[in-house]
């Protein structure tokens, strides 16, 4: 009854069950869709490398990219050892 009154009068201190469902759905779909094939990951690695190479010299063999996930989020984690910075044209 209290919950009902709070809702009617807009005191929504209780999270609506819809927003809970939304959040759970968002996460579960992300987990399900995470199914990245090694091939796609390799393509991503090559593209990333090309971009970075314009700015710095990197150790291509030691470069690592992975998707990591915990309960709250999914992150693309890249570990890219830099060998040398390029001299960028000064502004």
């Amino acid at each position: 009854m209290l919950e009902f009154l709070q809702r009617i009068f807009g005191k929504d201190s209780l999270k609506s069950s819809k927003s809970v469902a939304q959040e759970r759905l968002r996460l579960v779909l992300m987990h399900d869709r995470l199914d990245l094939s090694p091939q796609v990951l390799e393509e991503l690695r090559c593209d990333l490398m090309d971009v970075i190479k314009d700015y710095m010299e990197i150790d291509e063999n030691k470069m690592e990219i992975n998707l990591e996930q915990d309960n709250k989020c999914v992150a693309l984690v890249a570990n890219i050892p830099v060998v040398k910075m390029k001299r960028l044209p000064s502004h």
Binding site: R7, A21, L25, V28
Partner: protein
């Protein structure tokens, strides 16, 4: 030349069979030649929803194996002379038909009808592959629940892998009141997650249970809200532009009070 629509969901119990029966019946009411195929081998359901369970002699497996002619296997509806059912077999052997045979069957059915609706079994195994094999297009049915939407997402991925492009979504069993109270996922929420086109929204409606009891699809009942939603859906499939139904029932006392106070209007 007709088109084959597979009606699928991944999750069981979201209303695939009801959706198939209602869309098919409504298309037939518009004058189209319609064949409904129950692809759930081993678990025959569609015949009961249509009220045709007493007329079955031959079934899909008999036809696929050439044990009968097309005309013998297709059961004509009691009410509409251009609506036919191809019932599922009650055999325990789920491998009784293969995707190749289903494809062949669909090609034959397309020659003599405008719409072929394939009621797909739940799951993503052999039954799903059979139902999808001969399909040109797909209708994905889901309900506004996390598990059902998740399975719909999986199915959409599998349909794309089977090269069935741009599936359409039917969101079933929406309860406008719960949506308004913030206790049910809304149409927009589901669309946003699944990123597919909406074919229609069907309200949760007790008249569906009554019509299933009787074996008369709800589209035949002009007073049924769900029936109206399914009629709209079938018109959209036939190419007509019909706006999404207004599910809001704005007459309630509490609604008026809330609107008066400027709180939580739907």
């Amino acid at each position: 030349m007709g088109e084959v629509y597979v009606i699928t969901s991944g999750k069981g119990g979201v209303g695939k069979t009801t959706t198939t029966a209602n869309i098919g019946t409504s298309l037939a009411m518009q004058g189209y030649r319609v064949v409904l195929v129950d692809a759930d081998i081993g678990l025959r359901n569609l015949d009961v929803v249509l009220g045709l369970e007493n007329r079955i002699v031959y079934d899909l497996v008999d036809l696929a194996h050439g044990r009968c002619r097309m005309r013998q296997a297709l059961i004509r509806d009691r009410r509409l002379e251009n609506l036919y059912l191809l019932p599922a077999a009650q055999t325990k052997d789920k491998t009784a038909v293969n995707p190749e045979q289903m494809k062949e069957l669909c090609e034959k059915l397309k020659l003599e009808s405008d719409f072929i609706l394939m009621d797909c079994p739940a799951g993503i195994e052999q039954g799903f592959r059979n139902a999808v094999a001969g399909a040109d297009k797909a209708i994905v049915v889901t309900t506004p629940e996390v598990a059902a939407v998740r399975d719909a997402d999986r199915i959409i991925g599998l349909l794309e892998a089977s090269e069935i492009k741009d599936p359409l979504l039917v969101l079933n069993r929406i309860r406008p009141k719960m949506v308004r109270m913030g206790d049910m996922l809304d149409v927009e929420d589901v669309i946003e997650h699944l990123a597919i086109d909406m074919l229609g929204v069907v309200p949760d409606d007790e008249s569906i249970i009554i019509s299933t009891n009787k074996g008369e699809p709800a589209v035949l009942n002009s007073a049924s809200k769900a029936g109206e939603a399914y009629r709209n859906i079938s018109h959209r499939l036939a190419g007509d532009e019909v706006p999404l139904m207004n599910l809001e029932n704005r007459g309630g006392f509490m609604d008026r009070v809330r609107r008066l106070l400027g709180l939580r209007t739907g």
